[in-house]
Symmetry: C2
Subunit: 187 residues, 2 copies
């Protein structure tokens, strides 16, 4: 593995962490430098502008998140339980969703390319959940509505937990939704 590649990775990894903790707009290239331990010249060699660094870091974060979520949804279990497994997955509620938080980050929304990457994450996530729900035999449109609601409960759970400073808010929202989901199935 070349040194080039290694430096690049350290920069991207440092950017991913800082973006997750403080957002893109509130993170400066200088902070990424300090966190990664590389020099200023190196950063601008690998990533000429902040846009380039942001695209690489957000792209990596989106890939990681999608991969691990799709694995949970593909488990060998009844349809409802696979959706419930997604919903009840352990999460750092107070940290917020690494991807979802970017939708109110002006530095992201002002950058068409990065915004597209964030949009694709949610499109694919909702599609994956909808496919699972549709296995139950529910009409496709209804399955998509359920999928949107499920993903929204998680994203909103993050907002509630962060706003109140209480991770229990996320768990309460999930419990409320799962109860409704199961009560329907049990009918």
């Amino acid at each position: 593995m070349s040194q080039t590649t290694d430096t690049r990775r350290r920069l991207v990894a440092a950017a991913q962490e800082l973006f997750a903790a403080r957002g893109v707009g509130a993170t400066s290239p200088r902070q990424v430098l300090a966190a990664s331990g590389v020099g200023q010249g190196s950063l601008y060699h690998h990533f000429p502008t902040k846009h380039d660094l942001t695209l690489a870091a957000v792209g990596a974060t989106v890939d990681d998140a999608l991969t691990s979520t799709l694995r949970v949804l593909a488990a060998d279990a009844p349809v409802v339980e696979r959706v419930v497994a997604y919903l009840e997955r352990p999460r750092d509620a107070l940290a917020g969703c690494k991807v979802g938080r970017l939708t109110s980050d002006q530095a992201v929304m002002d950058d068409a390319e990065v915004r597209t990457v964030v949009g694709l994450y949610f499109t694919r996530l909702v599609d994956a959940v909808a496919r699972v729900v549709a296995e139950s035999g529910l009409p496709v449109d209804d399955a998509r509505d359920r999928a949107h609601a499920a993903v929204a409960v998680i994203q909103g759970g993050y907002v509630l937990a962060r706003a109140t400073g209480d991770p229990e808010a996320m768990r309460s929202a999930v419990r409320g939704f799962v109860t409704l989901l199961r009560s329907e199935t049990a009918r």
Copy 2:
């Protein structure tokens, strides 16, 4: 009405608009000046620091939002329909929630006083929805879970709509949740 009060109001109104459109961290005192038409000296006379201006503007936005939502929840209708009325309320989904978006705004989360105001908004909102749900006779804990889920669906709906650039994502999430809510009631 004194000129002092009027200048103050124009500053707060301009700050509210800019904060709603671009967030607190991404809005500078200079932009507030330009939008309000007042001079630099005036701003710093009424609000010595950005913190002071932020607290006033966010406080006003929270008050407005809470007041109008509580009115919807107090309508004269069956319990489930009052919750549905809150859920189906017309919203500018692509703009995001003026309050919810602040939970991923670093300038807000770094300011303990402002953060508290945002937290209280959601605490009160969830409490209000939970009280309505509890009128149905559901145990209090279950009512609170439903309320958290309902508010989360809306907040998550904003995230989905903004991420995908499609307001239909919010409507789909709401439809999915309302269907589950009504199916339970109809049992």
